[in-house]
C-alpha cells in the first residue's frame, strides 16, 4: 500500500530523512512515535508529495510518486489522502459545512464517492459529523471560530474522511485536546477508519497513545538521519 525505499531528503544540505525501508499495509492503523525534530513533518510532506526526496522511492497505492508531476501529485493527494493537523485545520472564513466539503473542490473522485454515500454533500457532512459525535444540525452553518478545539478537530476529521480517501494522515491531531476529548476523538476516528477501510497514519510525540494502536514504530529508530530538525 505505502512503500518507502532508500528514502533520503536533506534541507540545506542537512540530511533530515534517511529511511531504508518502510511498508504500511492497507487498512493498518499505524502509530508513528516521534518527538519534535525527529523529521516527522518532513516525512509527512514527503508522503503528501509536496516535497520531493533527493533519492529513493515512495509509492502509494502502487503509484510511484516520483513518476508524477507536481500537479499530478497534488491531484493524487486530493483524491487519496485526508489530513488532520494538530490545530488550525479549518479555514476561518468558511462555515463548518464548507470546510468539510472543501476537498470536493479539488477532487472529483472524492466528491463522487461522497455523493455515492449520501444524496448530497450536506447530508454526507451531517452523517460524518454524527458519526464523529457532533450531532447538532445547526453546527453546519456556524462559523468555525465559534467551535471548541475538540469540535474543530472533529470537523477536521470529518473533512479528512469525506469522500473516503484510502489514507488519512493525522499529525498530532490530539495534542490540543484534553485527555477526555483525546480518548473519545481517537475512538471515533478509529471506528470510522475501520468502517470505511481507511489506512490511518497517526503521528505523535505522545507515547501514551501508542496503546490504542496495534502497529507502532519509533521514527528515530528507522530514520538514520540524526540531525535535529529545527522547527
Amino acid at each position: 500500500m505505502i512503500n518507502l525505499t532508500d528514502l533520503s531528503f536533506a534541507w540545506n544540505k542537512q540530511p533530515i530523512i534517511d529511511i531504508k525501508e518502510l511498508t504500511i499495509k492497507k487498512g493498518e492503523h499505524l502509530f508513528i512515535e516521534g518527538p519534535s525534530g525527529s523529521g516527522k513533518s518532513t516525512l509527512l510532506s514527503l508522503l503528501a508529495g509536496v516535497i520531493t526526496p533527493q533519492s529513493g522511492d515512495i509509492s502509494i497505492l502502487e503509484q510511484p510518486l516520483n513518476l508524477l508531476t507536481a500537479s499530478q501529485k497534488d491531484t493524487f493527494r486530493a483524491n487519496h489522502i485526508g489530513f488532520i493537523f494538530q490545530q488550525f485545520n479549518l479555514l476561518p472564513y468558511l462555515n463548518v459545512l464548507d470546510n468539510i466539503t472543501l476537498p470536493c473542490s479539488f477532487s472529483g473522485i472524492r466528491k463522487h464517492k461522497a455523493l455515492s454515500q449520501s444524496k448530497n454533500l450536506e447530508s454526507e457532512a451531517i452523517r460524518l459529523l454524527n458519526a464523529l459525535g457532533l450531532d447538532d444540525p445547526e453546527l453546519l452553518q456556524r462559523s468555525v471560530n465559534e467551535l471548541s478545539v475538540g469540535q474543530q478537530q472533529r470537523v477536521a476529521a470529518a473533512r479528512a474522511m469525506l469522500g473516503s480517501p484510502e489514507i488519512i494522515i493525522a499529525d498530532e491531531p490530539t495534542s490540543a485536546l484534553d485527555s477526555d476529548n483525546r480518548e473519545s476523538f481517537i475512538k471515533v476516528l478509529f471506528d470510522e477508519c475501520q468502517k470505511a477501510d481507511i489506512t490511518l497514519i497517526f503521528v505523535s510525540h505522545d507515547t501514551s497513545l501508542k496503546t490504542h494502536f496495534k502497529h507502532s514504530l519509533k521514527l528515530q529508530e528507522i530514520n538514520q538521519a540524526t540531525i535535529k530538525e529545527a522547527v
Partner: protein, 524 residues
C-alpha cells in the same frame, strides 16, 4: 471557480483591510478620471469659445494675444486698428460678414465690448450656435446693453435696469462714464463662453462715452461749442460729414420747429408729450438723419414701432423712462451725432468660402492700410492650448502617482496578510490545492479588489460630477458635460487593472514559494 469563491470569502473575512484598500483604489481612480474629465471638458469648453468665425483680424502682434483679447477678453486692448479698415475689409468680395469689436471698458469687473447688431447674427460658439436671449430682446437703441448670463445673475440685473460703465478695467476709482447710463435690454442665455461675463453695447455708445462730452454739459441750447468741437471729426471722416449734415438739418429744424410738424407725423403724438422737452430735438435730429440715409431704414422702422408702442402706452411712461425720457444731456448729444469710433480692437470675419481662409489671411497680413494680423480661431485656440500642456502633464504625473500609491497600499496590505495566511495556504494544500491555486488566490484577490475599486471609483466619479455640475455652471460659468467614459478612460482603467495584477505577482510569487517550502507544516 472554486478558487474565486474561496478568494472572495477569504477577502470578506478581512473586511476592514479589504474596504480600506478598496476605497484607496476607488478614490485614486476617481481622482485620475476626474482630472481626465476636467482636462477634456476644459479643453472642449475652451475650443467651443468661438466657432463659425473664419478669421479674427487685429493689429499686428502675437496671435495668442489677439485671440485672448478678442475671444476671452483677457489682456490689454490697447492695440487698435482703424475703423476704416473694418469698412474696407467688409467690402471685400470674399467676406460674407464682418463684425467690429471694441473693448476697453468694464462694468464691476466684467468686460464691456462694443460692437454692432450684426454681432448677434454672426457670433457663434460651440457647434455654430448663435447667442440667444433669455429675457428681454436685443434692442437697437444706442444705449441698450445686452448682458451675459453670469453678469445678470451675479449682479442681479433685470431687463430695464440702468447701469454705468467704467473706463478701463475698473482699477482706477472715479472713471465711471456716469454721463452715459445704459439700460439693460436683453439678458443672454448662458453660452459658457466669455460672453457670459460680458456686457455688449453699441460702438456708437462706446464712442460717445470716450468723446469728451463732459465739457459740453449745458451746451445744447447754444450749440455753438458743439459744432466747433465736432468739426474736428468731420475733417477726418467722410461719414461724419453726413452726420454733420444731419446735425445742420437738425439746427434748421430747431429754428423752424413749428412749421416742421407735418414732416414728423410719426412723432406728432410724441411731440405733444414732449413739447416742453429739449430732448425731442435729439430724437428729431436722429430721424432727420434716417430720412437721408437708406441704411438707417431699419432703425427708423424700429423707431416708428417705438412710437406706436408709445401711442399705445401713454400711461406707462415709467417703463420707457430708462432710455427715452431720462436721457442725459450727453446722451442726447450722442444720439444726435451717432459717432462711429475711430478705432476698434478686432474684427470677426466670416468668409463666403472656407477655401478663401488662407488667401484672406495672407491678404490681411499684407494689408496696405495698416499692419494687421489675421488669425484662424480654431488654429489659434489649438496653439494657445499648447501653453497648458505643461500643466496638463504635471496633473497627469500627480494623478498617476496617486494611483500608484493606491496600488502600493494594496500590495502592502496583501503582503502583510501573507504571514497569517500561510496557515490557510497549508490547509488548502493538504486538501489538494496546487501551488498555482494558491498563487491564483492571491492574484484573484488583488484583481477583485482592484476591479471593485475601479467600479466604485467610476461610480464615485459620476456622483461627484453630478454634484459639481450645477455649482460649477452657476459659480464658475464652467459647463461640465457628463459623458460616457472615453476609450482613453477605459484604457487607463485597463492599465490600472493590469498593474494591480502585475503588482500582485510579488505576493503571489512569495506565497508560491512558501507553499512549496512549507509543505504540510502549519507554521504558527
Amino acid at each position: 471557480m472554486a478558487i474565486l469563491s474561496l478568494a472572495f470569502k477569504s477577502l470578506l473575512n478581512r473586511k476592514l483591510t479589504f474596504f480600506i484598500t478598496l476605497f484607496s483604489i476607488a478614490i485614486s481612480v476617481t481622482l485620475l478620471l476626474g482630472v481626465q474629465t476636467l482636462k477634456t471638458e476644459t479643453k472642449t469648453s475652451f475650443m467651443k469659445s468661438i466657432s463659425g468665425t473664419d478669421l479674427i483680424i487685429g493689429s499686428r502682434g502675437a496671435s495668442s494675444q489677439l485671440l485672448l483679447s478678442s475671444v476671452f477678453h483677457i489682456g490689454s486692448s490697447t492695440n487698435t486698428i482703424k475703423y476704416e479698415t473694418y469698412q474696407d475689409i467688409e467690402k471685400l468680395p470674399a467676406v460674407e460678414w464682418a463684425v467690429p469689436i471694441s473693448m476697453g471698458d468694464s462694468h464691476k469687473g466684467y468686460t464691456v465690448i462694443a460692437t454692432n447688431l450684426s454681432f448677434f447674427d454672426h457670433f457663434s460658439y460651440a457647434n455654430k450656435q448663435n447667442l440667444t436671449v433669455q429675457s428681454g430682446s436685443i434692442d437697437d437703441d444706442m444705449f441698450a446693453v445686452a448682458i451675459g448670463a453670469d453678469v445678470a445673475q451675479k449682479l442681479d440685473y433685470h431687463v430695464g435696469d440702468r447701469i454705468i460703465v467704467t473706463h478701463g478695467g475698473g482699477e482706477i476709482e472715479g472713471h465711471d462714464h456716469d454721463n452715459i447710463p445704459f439700460f439693460v435690454s436683453a439678458i443672454l442665455s448662458p453660452s459658457f463662453t466669455a460672453i457670459d461675463q460680458t456686457l455688449i453695447i453699441s460702438l456708437e455708445a462706446m464712442e460717445a462715452m470716450h468723446t469728451e462730452t463732459h465739457d459740453h454739459l449745458g451746451a445744447l441750447p447754444g450749440e455753438t461749442l458743439l459744432d466747433s468741437d465736432h468739426h474736428e471729426h468731420h475733417d477726418e471722416h467722410d461719414e461724419d460729414h453726413e452726420q454733420h449734415a444731419a446735425h445742420d438739418k437738425h439746427d434748421e429744424h430747431h429754428d423752424e420747429h413749428d412749421e416742421d410738424h407735418e414732416q414728423h407725423t410719426a412723432h406728432d403724438k410724441h411731440d405733444e408729450h414732449h413739447d416742453e422737452h429739449d430732448e425731442d430735438h435729439a430724437q428729431h435730429a436722429a430721424h432727420d438723419k434716417h430720412d437721408e440715409h437708406d441704411e438707417d431704414h431699419e432703425q427708423h422702422a424700429a423707431h416708428d414701432k417705438h412710437d406706436e408702442h408709445h401711442d399705445e402706452h401713454d400711461e406707462s411712461h415709467e417703463q420707457h423712462a430708462a432710455h427715452e425720457h431720462e436721457d442725459t444731456q450727453d446722451q442726447r448729444i450722442a444720439r444726435l451725432l451717432k459717432l462711429k469710433p475711430e478705432n476698434i480692437n478686432a474684427i470677426f470675419v466670416g468668409l463666403t468660402s472656407r477655401h478663401a481662409v488662407l488667401g484672406m489671411q495672407s491678404y490681411v497680413n499684407n494689408f496696405q492700410g495698416e499692419p494687421l494680423t489675421a488669425i484662424i480661431p480654431a488654429v489659434a485656440l489649438q496653439e494657445l492650448w499648447q501653453f497648458f500642456s505643461l500643466a496638463e502633464s504635471a496633473l497627469n504625473i500627480v494623478t498617476t502617482f496617486v494611483v500608484l500609491v493606491g496600488l502600493l497600499g494594496m500590495l502592502s496590505i496583501i503582503l502583510m496578510s501573507l504571514n497569517e495566511r500561510r496557515r490557510e495556504m497549508a490547509v488548502l494544500r493538504s486538501v489538494g490545492a496546487r501551488p498555482s491555486h494558491i498563487f491564483g488566490l492571491i492574484i484573484g484577490e488583488a484583481g477583485f479588489v482592484c476591479l471593485t475599486g475601479i467600479l466604485l471609483g467610476v461610480i464615485l466619479l459620476y456622483a461627484v460630477l453630478l454634484i459639481l455640475q450645477t455649482p460649477l455652471a452657476n459659480y464658475y460659468g464652467f459647463y461640465l458635460d457628463i459623458n460616457m467614459l472615453t476609450s482613453n478612460d477605459l484604457f487607463i482603467l485597463l492599465t490600472i487593472q493590469c498593474s494591480a495584477l502585475l503588482i500582485a505577482l510579488i505576493p503571489g510569487a512569495l506565497i508560491y514559494k512558501y507553499s512549496l517550502s512549507d509543505g504540510m507544516n502549519i507554521k504558527f
